[in-house]
């Protein structure tokens, strides 16, 4: 079974972002970029399935400009077999990404897609569910565990009041939550090996996608700083804290 792992390059989670003063977006110039952490978990999970002999091939895919090549190399260093970048100079919205991914999944004949539940830049949490819908496949979202058994996969999902277990018919799209695994630390030799693995650059046309098939579903009119909280005070003791909460804030 071939597994496709879609990945996205995002601003590193530990960087504080700045909103551009003209309110057109977030300043990403000169900012440290990383693989979206949930995608890293997805690559790790797919590679574990490869190592266990359950998967035959793991293909990392992104739809982005050439700056994402290094992100694909990281996926290869974790252990993906090869990578595909569909060249695209402007970032696409989730529905468009899902449409492009659908054609790639079909062209590759993949039997499973594992991807992050959300990208930590736009926080949309949509693409996996959309891809699953377009393919007509089952979906296992926000998973913390999966077990493939023949033509089904059993998944444990993190839900609002605990955990839920589902059995999905394969093929399926799975989206990762934080507790699925802990991605391995990339060792230098693997980084070197990754440089020799195939990374193909393709165009929409290679997957039978007309350029005008990719349209935006929304426009971002402006991006603003959130309101800041007014500065608080440091109290000296539990007694003072309780007094403030009771008599000043009236919350206890």
């Amino acid at each position: 079974m071939k597994i496709i792992v879609p990945i996205k390059r995002v601003v590193d989670p530990y960087v504080s972002i700045r909103v551009k003063s003209d309110e057109t977006g977030v300043d990403t110039g000169g900012v440290k970029m990383s693989m979206n952490p949930f995608d890293e978990i997805a690559v790790e999970e797919a590679v574990q399935l490869l190592e266990a002999g359950t998967a035959t091939e793991v293909i990392a895919v992104t739809i982005a400009d050439s700056s994402s090549d290094e992100t694909l190399r990281s996926a290869l260093a974790i252990g993906a077999d090869r990578a595909i970048r569909i060249n695209c100079e402007t970032p696409l919205q989730p529905l468009s990404i899902a449409k492009v991914l659908k054609n790639i999944v079909e062209a590759e004949g993949a039997g499973l897609v594992i991807m992050g539940k959300q990208a930590i830049d736009n926080d949309n949490n949509q693409t996996g569910q959309m891809l699953s819908a377009l393919l007509g496949w089952s979906q296992g979202t926000f998973i913390s565990e999966q077990t493939i058994d023949g033509d089904t996969v059993k998944v444990t999902r993190e839900i609002d009041n605990g955990l839920e277990t589902l059995t999905l018919k394969l093929p399926a799209v799975l989206t990762t939550d934080l507790r699925l695994n802990e991605p391995r630390y990339i060792k230098l030799p693997n980084m070197m090996k990754a440089k020799k693995k195939p990374l193909d650059t393709k165009n929409f046309a290679d997957y039978g996608i007309a350029d005008d098939a990719i349209t935006a579903g929304f426009t971002v009119q402006k991006v603003q700083e959130p309101p800041t909280r007014k500065a608080g005070i440091i109290v000296d003791s539990v007694a003072e804290l309780i007094e403030k909460l009771r008599d000043e804030a009236n919350v206890i």
Partner: protein, 310 residues
């Protein structure tokens, strides 16, 4: 124009997230609510009694019992043509379902909105809430998920009609095996007036009882940072943050939590924030109304045992 809201419920009780979604819906038009489940007539009747609801659509079938996205999607698609907006709460229920619906309607989804500017323009947080984007939907039909803490809960007092609608065929792509739900006497984390959250500073699952004791004293819900959940001090459903639950209680007490951006994203709209941390440089103090620089193992039990809190 009409709005369809997908109710979140467990077949016997309505989830409060639906009430916030109804309030958002009434800002957009006449609200119909779909209650799909198994033996969920009680829920349909409860929804009919909520202010602002125009009509309840009740679909009952065993394959809707576990609210699987693959099963509910065709039902919603069948209703979609009558509505300009389709809304669900941005809970794990809505997040799982709404994008599947949007994709098959071939329209964008607008996720996790905190404000409605107009019928096609919405504000939503991005980058863990470090920026607010104003987005304009371009498609005629809009599928939207609602950040529940940003909209008041709709109150009781309505008297809408309940219309039974026929269930679709079972899709059968996925099936429910079981669930492990957190059972607790404490208030629900998402809606509690007070939340006491613990982080890595607690050091162990046993020590986390300190947090629970203070929560019980205050009648509060228990929350946690990702680090506390990852370390197994507490269950996953208690994770507050960018990728967990978003809360906005009257009082949020963060104990042994450093204040990473991903945690702040889930609690910074709380009315009053208290931080207890032994590191005076901890980022959490930048967001706290009241900070106490102290060892949590001394101060939290002192607070719990205080006779000044009744």
């Amino acid at each position: 124009m009409s709005v369809l809201i997908i109710a979140e419920h467990n077949n016997s009780e309505l989830n409060s997230s639906t009430l916030n979604t109804i309030t958002a819906g009434t800002e957009l038009g006449d609200v119909d609510v779909l209650v799909a489940g198994e033996n969920c007539a009680d829920v349909a009747n409860a929804v009919a009694a909520i202010n602002g609801v125009n009509k309840v659509l009740h679909a009952d079938a065993s394959h809707y019992g576990h609210h699987l996205a693959e099963e509910l999607t065709p039902l919603i698609l069948g209703l979609a043509e009558n509505y300009e907006h389709i809304l669900a709460p941005a809970t794990n229920f809505g997040k799982n379902l709404a994008p599947r619906v949007a994709a098959l309607l071939d329209v964008a989804q607008i996720s996790d909105i905190t404000e409605i500017v107009s019928s096609n323009t919405f504000i939503r947080p991005i980058y863990a809430g470090n920026a607010l984007a104003t987005v304009q939907a371009l498609h005629a039909k809009k599928v939207i998920t609602i950040r529940t803490v940003s909209f008041e809960a709709a109150s009781e007092g309505g008297s809408a009609g309940v219309e039974s609608i026929s269930a679709g065929e079972q899709v059968g792509l996925s099936s429910f095996e079981g669930q492990e739900l957190t059972v607790s006497e404490r208030p629900d984390l998402a809606t509690a007036k007070t939340v006491v959250s613990g982080g890595r500073g607690l050091g162990s699952k046993e020590n986390f009882a300190i947090i629970e004791a203070l929560a019980d004293k205050l009648g509060a819900a228990v929350g946690a940072s990702r680090a506390a959940v990852d370390a197994g001090y507490i269950t996953n459903d208690k994770q507050v943050g960018q990728t967990g639950v978003v809360v906005a209680p009257d009082l949020y007490i963060a104990v042994g939590i450093s204040g990473a951006a991903q945690h702040i994203a889930g609690m910074k709209d709380s009315k009053v924030i208290v931080a207890i941390n032994k590191d005076p440089e901890a980022a959490i103090f930048n967001f706290a109304d009241y900070g106490l620089v102290a060892d949590l193992f001394d101060t939290v039990p002192e607070m719990t045992n205080s006779t000044k809190i009744s």
